[in-house]
Amino acid sequence: MELNQYLDVFIDESKEHLQSVNEHLLELEKNPENLDIVNEIFRSAHTLKGMSATMGYEDLANLTHKMENVLDGIRNHKIQVTVELLDVVFASVDDLEAMVLDIAAGGDGKRNVTEIVQKLQKIEKGESLESDPSQEVAAAVAEESVSTNQQYDEFELTVIQQSTEQGFSCYEMTVRLRSDCLLKAARVYMIFEVLEKCGEVIKSTPSVEQLEDEQFDDSFMVTIVTKEPKEDIEKKVMKVSEVESVVGTEISAEFLRKKSVEKEEKIAKDQDHVQKNNATTSQTSQNKKKQTTSSTAKKSSKKQQVVSNKTIRVNIERLDILMNLFEELVIDRGRLEQISTDLNHPELNETVERMSRISGDLQNIILNMRMVPVETVFNRFPRMVRKLARDLNKQINLEIVGAETELDRTVIDEIGDPLVHLIRNALDHGIETPEVRKANGKPEEGTVVLKAYHSGNHVFIEIEDDGAGINREKVLHKALSKGVVSEEVAETLTDKQVYELILASGFSTAEKVSDVSGRGVGLDVVKTTIESLGGSITIDSVEGTGSIFSIQLPLTLSIISVMLVEVEKEKYAIPLSSIIETAIVKKEDILNAHNQKVIDFRGKVVPLVFLEEVFEVPNENEEDDFYSIVVVRKGDKMAGLVVDSFIGQQEVVLKSLGDYLTNVFAISGATILGDGQVALIVDCNSLIK
């Protein structure tokens, strides 16, 4: 089978399923009694298993299968959910993730997982890692009730009773297919054919329709009335290939009647138990109650989303092509508008106006298609925080707000790593240990809030912790000793500026290098990445109560606001994000400072950069008495770019110069203007040293 074409889909979907498993496991940890969550996990795991078996990734399928067995145990009340158990399951999800990543990177998805498999099998067999006798008893009781989980109605019971009276036997056959069985429906058909030769099938769980649609896991149960001995039937069914096991148990109508009564009692008891449990939770700390309600609320909203969100996957390249074609259309629209105003024909005007409006809407839609909820980045953090909290022996509650906020795909891809870094930092340096927190009169559990929201043309992402905050003196001391700032400057800095020193290169606040954040990478990398995306980062902190790291990002990278300027006959675009302001300066106001022309801009000496010289523009015009200057900044440094005239502000689509023209000095890209010509985008950062 040619599977390569499905590989991308497989990898994408596997990642999605693993993510969903991750999320639900976290939820399960909070509500260990909720079997809905287990079912949800089971479903994802099961799909993943099926997919990987089809694609021929045996290791992946096997490990998922082992994990599934454990989940099945939980589902059937055989295994109790414990933190230790979740650790093992989480670890196996990690392994699965690694395998999928390996496959994505072109590997074969093989990995040594014997240890984790052993642990899973141990759990599955009920040898829970910490054996607890009361649990085992509970498991044993649960097991018994599972053995006949078929429900019979009165009619079926009568049939069973009458056939036993006529000398027939009645068996419940539990058939388990091999986990790598590819055509389950076909196997079911074959098994039914065998069974129907032996006797009469009176019931199956799940129903025959569901079995035909493959709506079952590996096993199903069939009730058969027959004169043949149970062993013979078992052997006959085993002849069908890909059947793992067949277990028959004899049943009688009386036994079933008794059982069903018991079951009803048990259900009533269970409900009682659940109610009791609810009562106890509500009695315990309020915090916990809030958690459960919030998580259930989240879940219900998610369910709604599933119903309303019908999506298809589109290759981002196709979207790019669509966008390119659309830009062509926009350029032609501009020409049409020009022509229609020139001709001033009412019908033409009307049509062109309509077209402009429609294409404007279309543009919005196309841009929106590239938008992805920030959730895709955020959803990996709960897992990370859980693990880090355990590693650091801290209690941490991660709250995520505004995960539905949308960002351009290109920004999403870049923002993950900086956020990981900041959250690590918040956990490691921000939140104190439970003992310290208690001593300071704070709740033992620290809170980290990860928040995203839109504001204007920007997206803000904030990481707030209620930890120790930043110690101004400590930071200053360190910055001075590392030579990041000088004594004189240090005294003039505001609190905010001091906090931002921790983002400077060559600065690390860690007293000792810890396993968590001490990876040889400072927060300066975070700052660089964010700035390269056209964003900025600020820090607010109150010592003793916590810090907020706030990141501002542009909505999209592909569209930027620029100031179009003219240098002789050439047009250049200067990104608005780096412009402070524009000015027109008289020639005699320009000063000479050691071969460098400068201006006095609001009391600051700003060096001038003549774009005409830098870009070697063919000179034609006479020199003017006035200079048009765009004051730009790079960090704290400024420069004045001298141009001939300003054209105006415009939103443009950013384009690369292609593979052939790489590293052109002071040019960061190009854009296509309304008249179809290409204008170059000036890279202000490389013009300021």
């Binding site: 050439e570 384009k655 110069l657 292609g658 052109v664 002071a666 040019i667 296509i672 290409v678």
Partner: protein, 145 residues
Amino acid sequence: MTTTQSTTTLKVIAFQLMEKEYALPVRQVRSIEKLMHITRVPGTSPFVKGVINLRGVVTPIIDLRKRFQLPNETYDDTTRIIIAAIDDLEVGLVVDGANDVLDIPSEAIEPQPEVVGAVEADYITGVAKLEKRLLILLSLEKVLN
């Protein structure tokens, strides 16, 4: 061997530069465009004319006359831009005119004649004589280096 040789032909796009005829394999040519506005890109090699907007894609343009150190000539109505590509790398080549697709039998291709005084140009892979025409076969990879 001789039979296979006689049957293999190379399909090329022929174009003019300074009354000489050059050829590029047709599989490397994406399209032939009329001259359009070229935006100069400062700080690049002298033969890089600039970039154009090729249906929404910013495409670099190389002036082949400059590249081959031939005298400059002003552009006119016959001037064309040949959009050529190696893998994903797409460039436009400014030529004096392009209008022919030819089949060159492989036996007509000879290495460039080497005599004293001839310009050594490693971007030429060979010459082909076709009736009375002489075609200079170009290696696009080398031209772009």
